[in-house]
């Protein structure tokens, strides 16, 4: 499903080059629950962003369902992000001034789903993550755990094949972290490929496969 071949992400600083990813090759199959662990600045988030078609890379290839992502333009990558990938971030990446429902609806608003179905689908997603009663509140009126549930609801609303989670529990207490990880595990059990970037062994413990990255290389 996901195949990276010798991927290099290079940042230029004057005449110096910094390899955020230095020849990463990996394959992730459908339905896997994978953790990517590493120290700060090791390149784990960069790797996740590339897998999520959120960032570009300078060398190597990335195939998602046999599609060469590097050759796609912004519109096509956006379509892939919209249809196949759901994102969960440490800081939730929600529009705080808007309602929970609007935040969950967002991926659907950029899809081909007819408008009349969008609210209904968003409500279903909210119910799945246990925030059905909060949908009319503004995102900034919720607790951290609830916000992460909103982010997960937004990530699954388009029925994606992959969920990419970058430190999903980084801003949560241990009890809420556990709930969120159980939620992600549940989603994985329903057939969604889940890739979690974390530096927390406990979080990684929920995953079935563990990848370690150091200085831009998989070890």
């Amino acid at each position: 499903m996901i195949k990276l071949e010798d991927v290099k992400k290079i940042y230029k600083m004057g005449t110096d080059k910094f390899y955020a990813l230095d020849g990463v090759s990996l394959e992730i199959n459908k339905g896997e629950f994978v953790s990517i662990q590493g120290a700060s600045g090791s390149g784990k988030t960069t790797l996740l962003n590339i897998m999520g078609c959120l960032d570009n890379f300078e060398e190597g290839s990335y195939y998602l369902d046999d599609v060469d992502i590097r050759r796609l333009n912004d519109s096509k990558k956006s379509k892939i992000r919209n249809k196949k990938i759901g994102f969960v971030f440490q800081d939730f990446a929600l529009i705080n001034s808007k309602s929970v429902l609007f935040n969950i609806m967002l991926p659907l608003l950029f899809s081909d789903v007819p408008f009349r179905k969008i609210k209904k689908l968003a409500a279903i997603a909210a119910e799945k993550v246990g925030i059905k009663d909060q949908v009319h509140k503004k995102a900034n009126q919720l607790s951290g755990g609830q916000r992460q549930r909103v982010a997960i609801a937004r990530a699954i609303v388009n029925d994606p094949e992959i969920i990419l989670a970058d430190e999903p529990t980084g801003a949560l207490d241990s009890k809420t972290s556990e709930q969120i990880m159980l939620l992600l595990k549940q989603l994985n059990e329903s057939g969604i490929t889940v890739i979690v970037v974390t530096h927390d062994d406990k979080v990684a413990g929920y995953c079935g496969r563990h990848l370690f990255i150091s200085d831009g290389k998989l070890v």
């Binding site: 519109s75 992000r81 800081d91 529009i95 967002l106 991926p107 608003l109 950029f110 899809s111 408008f115």
Partner: protein, 409 residues
């Protein structure tokens, strides 16, 4: 529908900014339209003279006859003065050095639906000399006794129908005329009616809206004289034949000087052109300044609004919105903001003839026509395009995550 919903969401929380922009832009464009109208008022007159055959002619005002008429007490005396004018014209026409003598006459007073109006008579020579008249609908289509309606109040009468007019001199007489057309807005009338030491287009052309145009034929004059006073304006434009020596010309003009004043039509044209230049000089810096200020306000407020929404946009990218779609949302939203003042002003331009007719927009020496609409649209497009381009620069070449991180920083 999804895009429309997102556009509607764009305006949430920024209504006050948007209202400020709309008011400012509406006002600036409105002042631009008015300034354009002051110039347009003169340029139509200039174009009439410029395209005419009278540019080499001489504008003559017979003050003596004018004064004589003012002293008359009885209609017979007045008619005697009219006859003197006719004789003067006839004499000039018979002069072998004179190509044509142009003048107009009016038949009044008369009533249509209890509203006062006048008949103005154009000779065949006058129609030929001012080809611009045809552009505004003055074409008798070989119907010598027909009339052309020159006012909004006749709008309900179509071409081919008849109009019934009531004359009041000295008793009520009703006559019916064939209608062969309507004079178009701004209802320009060649009147050749003013006198003075400084002559400009307004002594030859008037935007009246209260005239019915008829051809000056012997038959029409005879018919009108039975029921009304057919009065000349005591002014004329004399065009000499090509090759007439200046001494001959001057001797004819100096003879006329005994009873009136004259000026070359070229002087009338030059005075008009100078007025246009002055108006442009007077208005351009002010309007340019106002439009620049409103464009800058639109530009800077838009940038502030978009910056305010940068985080939203970056989250849109995460959720699968392409840059193209986001640009479209921003472009349509900004178009909607600036379209309101543009539309308001276009509606004003379109309604102007009606507002003027109803006395609701009585600005002196201003003529607002549809010609200004392309300029309004051009301003709209330039402003929106510059703003959208400026807004796109920060996200150009940046991946969604770089954009998001940039916003968060």
């Amino acid at each position: 529908m999804n895009t429309i919903y997102l556009i509607m969401k764009f305006f949430k929380g920024i209504k006050i900014h948007v209202a400020f922009l709309i008011i400012m832009m509406t006002f600036s464009i409105f002042l631009g339209v008015i300034a354009y109208g002051t110039v347009k008022y003169i340029t139509i007159g200039r174009d009439f003279i410029d395209s005419s055959e009278v540019k080499e002619g001489y504008y003559y005002c017979d003050r003596a006859l004018y004064d004589e008429e003012s002293d008359c007490l009885y209609e017979d005396e007045v008619k005697e003065v009219y006859r003197k004018f006719d004789a003067q014209v006839e004499k000039l026409k018979n002069n072998e050095n004179v190509e044509k003598v142009l003048y107009t006459k009016t038949a009044n007073p008369l009533d249509y639906n209890e509203k006062s109006t006048n008949i103005i008579l154009y000779s065949e020579e006058l129609l030929e000399a001012f080809p611009e008249l045809k552009k505004y609908g003055v074409d008798f289509k070989e119907n010598e006794s027909a009339c052309i309606l020159g006012s909004r109040m006749f709008n309900q009468i179509s071409e081919g129908e008849k109009i019934e007019l009531t004359f009041y001199s000295p008793e009520k007489h009703t006559r019916t005329f064939d209608v062969v057309g309507h004079l178009d807005f701004p209802y320009p009338i060649i009147k050749i009616s003013g006198c003075g030491t400084y002559l400009d287009f307004s002594h030859i052309i008037e935007y009246s809206g209260y005239f019915i145009i008829m051809k000056e034929t012997e038959e029409n004059i005879r018919m009108l004289e039975e029921i009304a006073l057919v009065a000349p304006y005591y002014n004329m434009i004399i065009v000499f034949k090509d090759g007439v020596e200046s001494e001959v010309r001057e001797s004819i003009l100096s003879e006329l000087e005994d009873s009136g004043t004259w000026a070359p039509v070229s002087e009338v044209y030059d005075n008009t052109a100078a007025q246009i230049e002055n108006k442009i000089k007077e208005n351009t810096p002010r309007i340019f300044f106002l439009l620049c200020i409103s464009s800058i306000a639109f530009f800077s407020t838009s940038i502030l609004l978009i910056n305010k929404k940068n985080r939203e946009n970056s989250i849109y990218y995460l959720c699968g919105c392409s840059k193209r779609k986001n640009t479209l949302i921003v472009f349509i939203s900004l178009c909607m903001i600036s379209a309101v003042p543009v539309l308001l002003n276009i509606v004003f331009v379109k309604l102007w003839p009606y507002l003027q007719w109803k006395g609701l927009a009585n600005f002196d020496s201003i003529l607002i026509t549809g010609d200004v609409i392309p300029f309004i649209l051009m301003y709209f497009l330039i402003t929106v395009l510059i703003t959208v381009c400026a807004l796109l620069i920060p996200s150009a070449g940046r991946s969604p995550i770089v954009y998001l991180k940039g916003v968060e920083r």
